[in-house]
């Protein structure tokens, strides 16, 4: 028996040590950048020559931050499809921005300028190839630790400022006119939602923009960034237990902490929790699944898009019990027109 248990115990200990090592190193990417220890300079930040305001700007700018499975800003085909549908379904002109990798303060993808870029790429490839490798979960672990960095008051301001700086650049590059009052919706899936809240105050201050957050099954701490958020739309299915992790882990999310940032926002009517119907956090049957249908025949993907559009447009969220038939403004109808 011990011939199995002893090596197993060593393996578990080794895995734990590896995880602790990864977690210990997690804050140093953003801290090193901030301190000027890396080649990636803190300056220049926002250059006026980069300003390129659109003559005819969009009614809203939506920034999408991917979930913790990503290794770069290159989205998966299902995420890309989701954003395409969202753009098609939106009744007004919308600009969607998806070129910032939220798990790096310097927008440096895991397969970018890093000593272990080759390793991350191989792990990612093995996952895409359908190989169920336990090592591929290292990507989740690495990005999860960056979410923890974002939610930690000791590191969060620096990390979130770094990501916000990249978002500001991208927004300006995409024609966002600063101080125009045009709303920016930062939309994050899973851990991306925490970073969405973290960057909110810096986007608000730098661009003078009202900030809305769309959290898709988001795992969000009691982040001070909530104070600067105009409204948080927290889309959480009743069968998705992952967002409850933050309710458990962060004392500011506990019901007894009535004066936390979270509950101040909730009591001020700035948080709406929306149940889109039975959807899983990730994988088959998740929020972006186009093949899983709800009771009314609508796909999870379309329902998620419908809920987000209604929330951002401040129109009533359509009841799930109603029979779903594509309308003139629905994604299917718009796509068939084109």
């Amino acid at each position: 028996m011990s011939t199995i248990i002893t090596p197993l115990a060593y393996l578990i200990a080794l895995a734990l040590l590896l995880l602790i090592g990864m977690a210990l190193l997690a804050p140093f990417e953003s801290l090193g950048w901030w301190a000027g220890w890396t080649k990636r300079d803190l300056q220049p930040s926002i250059q006026l020559e980069e300003l390129n305001p659109e003559v005819n700007p969009a009614a809203i700018y939506i920034v999408y931050l991917t979930a913790i499975g990503g290794i770069s800003a290159n989205l998966s085909s299902r995420e890309q499809r989701f954003l395409d549908r969202l753009e098609a379904a939106y009744p007004e002109k919308v600009v969607i921005i998806d070129d910032v990798f939220p798990f790096s303060a310097t927008n440096n993808p895991l397969n970018g300028e890093r000593p272990l870029a080759w390793l991350w790429q191989r792990l990612h490839n093995s996952r895409l190839g359908g190989k169920a490798s336990i090592f591929a979960t290292l990507i989740f672990a690495r990005n999860l630790f960056q979410v923890a960095v974002s939610g930690d008051p000791r590191y969060g301001p620096i990390y979130n400022f770094g990501v916000a700086r990249e978002l500001i650049r991208s927004l300006i590059h995409h024609g966002y006119p600063p101080n125009s009052g045009i709303p920016i919706a930062v939309m994050g899936w899973s851990g991306g939602a925490q970073i969405a809240v973290g960057v909110a105050p810096y986007l608000h201050q730098a661009l003078g923009a009202p900030i809305k957050i769309v959290s898709i099954g988001g795992v969000i701490s009691d982040d001070p960034g909530l104070d600067q958020v105009e409204h948080l739309y927290h889309i959480q299915s009743t069968i998705d237990q992952y967002p409850r992790i933050s309710e458990l882990l962060y004392p500011g999310r506990w019901r007894i902490m009535r004066h936390s940032h979270w509950y101040r926002a909730e009591n001020g009517g700035r948080i709406s929790v929306i149940n889109p119907g039975p959807m899983r956090h990730t994988g088959k049957g998740d929020y972006l699944d186009r093949n899983t249908l709800l009771a009314n025949g609508q796909s999870n993907l379309d329902r998620t898009v419908e809920v987000i559009v209604a929330a951002l447009e401040q129109t009533p969220i359509p009841e799930l019990t109603a029979d779903y038939t594509p309308t003139a403004s629905s994604p299917e109808a718009k796509q068939s027109q084109t």
Binding site: I20, A23, L24, A26, P27, F28, L31, G32, W34, A35, G36, W37, L42, S45, I46, L48, F145, A148, V149, G151, D152, P153, R154, Y155, G156, P157, I158, F161, Y202, Q205, A206, L249
Partner: protein, 224 residues
């Protein structure tokens, strides 16, 4: 080679004993030779260094240059050791004053220093999220170890040891806040000396300061 192994084994026993809050370890250190004192101080310094590493985000937030980082860590760790000596002094003073109990000050320093062994894990405070909890756990652990140390020093029960330790800490905190003692100036001097940076800011203050600078730059250039 064997003597090195024996020495390391002894160190391990000592540290494990403190972590277990075993009074016998503190009694042993009281009876030990000069080498024991050196070992004691080395443990205290390493605990201070580890704790400083755990809090090293502040050096990054204030953009301490890479070449200065190690120096800053060592100076802060030495400041930490000095703080422990001061706490030991206040305990020694209160034990004599409140309970008329006598002990050599050096012995109090030795046992209290050893009580800081849990902070050898202080580097774990770096962990995002969990580090905040580990910080509290380690501080409570140190307090318990110091209580055992003081009870061994003076053959005290729990409450006299608790009174001397907590009141001693409160006394230092109170004195440090008296304006005429200018402890804040000493702190500032040590910070400047170790880091070469004028003002100590936490990460939020540092980012807020940069945001203000960026906004004023932006506004200024826009007006031109």
């Amino acid at each position: 080679m064997e003597s090195v192994t024996n020495f390391l084994g002894l160190v391990k026993e000592l540290i494990v004993g403190v972590l277990r809050l075993d009074p016998a370890v503190f009694e042993a250190i009281l009876d030990s030779s000069v080498a024991g004192i050196v070992l004691d101080l080395i443990i205290l310094f390493l605990a201070g260094l580890s704790d400083t590493i755990g809090h090293s985000a502040v050096f990054f937030a204030n953009r301490v240059p890479r070449r200065r980082f190690l120096f800053a860590l060592v100076v802060e760790a030495l400041g930490f050791v000095t703080g422990v000596f001061i706490w030991a002094f206040s305990i020694w003073l209160l034990a004599g004053f409140l309970f008329n109990a006598q002990q050599n000050y050096a012995n109090v320093v030795r046992t209290v220093s050893l009580g800081y062994a849990p902070l050898l894990f202080g580097f774990l405070i770096l962990l995002p999220y969990l580090g905040n909890i580990i910080f509290v756990i380690l501080r409570v652990w140190v307090l318990l170890a110091v209580l055992v140390a003081v009870s061994v020093d003076y053959n005290f029960g729990f409450w006299p040891a608790f009174t001397c330790s907590v009141l001693g800490w409160a006394l230092i905190t109170f004195l440090a806040r008296l304006p005429f003692l200018r402890v804040d100036r000493i702190d500032s001097f040590l910070w400047r000396f170790s880091t070469g940076v004028d003002q100590e800011l936490n990460s939020k203050e540092a980012v807020d300061q940069l945001m203000r600078e960026l906004q004023s730059d932006w506004t200024g250039e826009s007006d031109q």
